[in-house]
């Protein structure tokens, strides 16, 4: 080996994936990067397909594009008609657009239909080192595989459909290092809610997170997806986790994963991805997993989160007038007192689902708490699997019986009450504990009030009818 060449500059995984995808760099314009996987759904694509038709363009790479119906699709029996005619028209249009442009997709009747960020990994479409985009801000979910995955607007959906490329500016790199061991009752959702409560919902703006550290390494792929999923709630463009044996074990033999020699070649390439020793991040934060408690949000953005035993903060204790008013406005909307914990606060609905927490391990965790217990009669509990395949798996394991016997509603796959576009929604003034990702005003239905938490906390709350610390229930059923 020659000694007179300078050693290559150590790079983060974020820079490595970026560098592998540069198509063109022209002065005066952002970098043109190549997109390996483009996921499309019914809500943010119709105007992009219309744009293609108006310009007489085709989809350049239908073989790198995949569609599903998830946002506006009802979660009741799929043999029933869709009551909302506007939603039905949107789904019908999607079922026309995909075949018109040669794009494979899972329609409402498909046995593999599901939430776009659930089916990509489930089918082995999401792979390490890829660039993945979708007209949905939770696309960061796919970062769990070491992919650079981010949400885009409809104009960009059209750009990618037409050219398989995007104009992008390089993001800053932000290391989120989580070391230590989680205590019982504390999980991936609590890690990410803790992160967002620390850095705020704009804390990651302009950045891509790399989650690292011993606590992240010990997580399953599904737990890693929960964390990457909520990167956008801290304002980050994307969030990813370097691939390791956990990643490869999950991915091997998935339907669209490479097989045989192609797998070996891909694996050799993926093993080059992790961040080099000595690589420098633009920003860093360290979190001690040993000290984490179950988290819950009390306000109207995902950064307004606290450990479940902690008191809701008092706006009067805040000096900055705009921050004080922002917190005060949130507590008025939520109709909550400050200075005391949320523990014991009554809820009307518990929602277990969404691209954050609807995978089989989430359902198993919730069922573990609900088994042999009954849902509080004052609470409506909806369990919405992330895909029809997860639903099938859960039924094979008898989880559906656990949910039904407890008094919960067992539904078909979709985004459901996370975004409340499909008829699943809160009534004005109602409170929910929800395993989803956003607690914005009206997010789960106009006037609805959302407490974000883990599947364990949601299940515990379903039983008591009030916000509950799951640690009081562990090992007792």
């Amino acid at each position: 080996m020659s000694t007179d060449q300078p050693a290559p500059k150590p790079r983060t995984i974020i820079e490595k994936v970026w560098d592998r995808h540069i198509v063109a760099e022209r002065k005066g314009a952002p970098t043109l990067i190549y997109i390996d996987l483009h996921l499309v759904h019914e809500v943010t694509s119709p105007q992009a397909f219309s744009g293609l038709r108006e310009r007489g363009l085709k989809v350049r790479r239908p073989d790198l594009t995949f569609g599903t119906t998830d946002h506006s699709i009802p979660t009741h029996d799929r043999n029933l008609p869709i009551i909302d005619k506007v939603a039905e028209a949107q789904i019908t249009q999607f079922e026309k657009n995909c075949p018109d442009f040669g794009i494979p997709f899972y329609g409402p009747q498909s046995k593999k239909q599901g939430i776009v960020h659930v089916i990509g990994p489930e089918q082995g479409l999401t792979q390490p080192g890829m660039t993945v985009v979708c007209g949905d801000s939770h696309t960061a979910t796919h970062g769990a595989f070491g992919a650079l995955a981010f949400g885009i607007g409809t104009s960009q959906v059209e750009h990618v459909l037409a050219t398989q490329c995007l104009l992008q500016s390089r993001s800053k790199t932000y290391q989120v290092r989580v070391d230590g061991t989680l205590k019982p009752g504390v999980g991936a959702k609590d890690i990410v809610l803790n992160l967002i409560s620390r850095i705020g919902i704009g804390g990651g703006t302009g950045c891509v997170f790399e989650y690292s550290g011993s606590a992240i390494r010990s997580l399953s792929m599904e737990e890693r997806m929960t964390i990457c999923n909520m990167s956008i709630e801290a304002g980050a463009r994307a969030g990813l986790i370097a691939p390791d044996d956990t990643t490869y074990e999950y991915l091997a033999n998935r339907p669209f994963a490479p097989k045989g020699e192609a797998w070996d070649r891909a694996l050799a390439s993926w093993r080059q991805l992790p961040t080099d020793d000595g690589a420098v991040f633009d920003k860093e934060i360290f979190i001690d997993a040993n000290t984490l408690e179950p988290m819950i949000t009390f306000g109207t953005n995902p950064g307004m989160g606290i450990p479940i035993t902690a008191a809701v903060p008092d706006p009067n204790a805040i000096k900055d007038p705009v921050e004080r008013e922002t917190l005060g406005k949130a507590l008025r909307y939520m109709d909550l007192p400050s200075g005391i914990p949320l523990l014991g606060h009554p809820v009307n609905v518990v929602f277990i689902g969404s691209c954050t927490n609807s995978r089989i391990s989430d359902l198993r965790a919730a069922a573990g708490i609900l088994k042999g217990r009954k849902v509080n009669p004052n609470v409506r509990v909806m369990v919405v699997p992330g895909s029809q395949l997860i639903k099938e798996q859960a039924q094979a394991e008898g989880l559906d019986r656990v949910f039904r016997d407890a008094g919960a509603d067992w539904r078909e796959a979709g985004c459901s009450m996370c975004i409340a576009m499909n008829g699943d929604q809160l009534q004005p003034g109602e409170y929910s504990v929800s395993t989803s990702n956003r607690n914005f005003e009206g997010r789960q239905g106009k006037g609805g009030r959302t407490f974000l938490a883990s599947p364990l906390t949601a299940a515990a709350t379903a039983i008591t009818g009030v916000v509950t610390d799951v640690r009081t229930m562990l090992g007792k059923n």
């Binding site: 943010t44 050219t163 409340a420 914005f440 009206g442």
Partner: protein, 204 residues
């Protein structure tokens, strides 16, 4: 895309931080397959009561807010979802610029593709703007994209950062897709060097 030209306008103040896209255009209005009609539902839950009556106190329902083409908002405007329906709704309502101390990444990108200028100003200018509009609701600002200058009601001006390429596209009234399509040889060359690890069209 509409060509962006220099203009002067009143401001509609919304002194709230972290205004998310669910407030700008609630998800129930995203079931449409066109871009039309979104402006009527801009800030729907803040603007109308449950039965659709305009709330008289909300700025867009007040005479001084109705004439504004510039929205003056709190920090981190446009956080949340990737829905381009948010800038579509703002543009259709009549806004041509939003002023804040920062914007969420996806919203900023979407706004730039729709001739809606996201103007980032320093905190002191931000405070001065809110004070100016409170003192005189008819106070005007001037937005000049050529020079990247915002002129405040007191005649002082501040330059604002904007992506050079997006600025060019807005001034010319062209969109990015035309430019990307011109790079076809580079795209084809890139594709010819790659080994694919997926094929979504494969029978699996």
């Amino acid at each position: 895309m509409e060509k962006f030209t220099k203009f002067s306008s009143r401001l509609a103040p919304l002194p709230i931080d972290n205004i998310d896209t669910d407030q700008i255009i609630p998800a129930r209005f995203l079931k449409t397959i066109s871009k039309a009609g979104l402006g009527d539902n801009l800030f729907s839950d803040w603007r109308y009561t449950g039965d659709g009556t305009p709330k008289p106190e909300f700025i867009l329902n007040r005479p001084e807010g109705r004439a504004a083409r510039v929205l003056l908002a709190g920090d981190n405007f446009g956080c949340g979802s990737s829905r381009e329906h948010a800038p579509w709704a703002l543009f259709q309502y009549g806004f041509r610029a939003v002023i804040s101390t920062s914007f969420a990444d996806i919203f900023r990108g979407n706004a730039l593709k729709n001739s809606l200028v996201p103007i980032v100003v320093p905190e002191d200018k931000h405070k001065a703007l809110f004070a100016a509009v409170e003192a005189d609701p008819a106070a005007e600002v001037t937005v000049d994209l050529e020079t990247q200058t915002l002129t405040l009601p007191d005649g002082s001006s501040v330059t604002f950062p904007i992506d050079e390429f997006a600025r060019y596209c807005m001034i010319q009234g062209v969109d990015e897709l035309g430019y990307i399509l011109q790079l076809e040889p580079e795209i084809a060359a890139f594709e010819s060097k790659r080994t694919l690890t997926i094929n979504t069209l494969a029978e699996v």
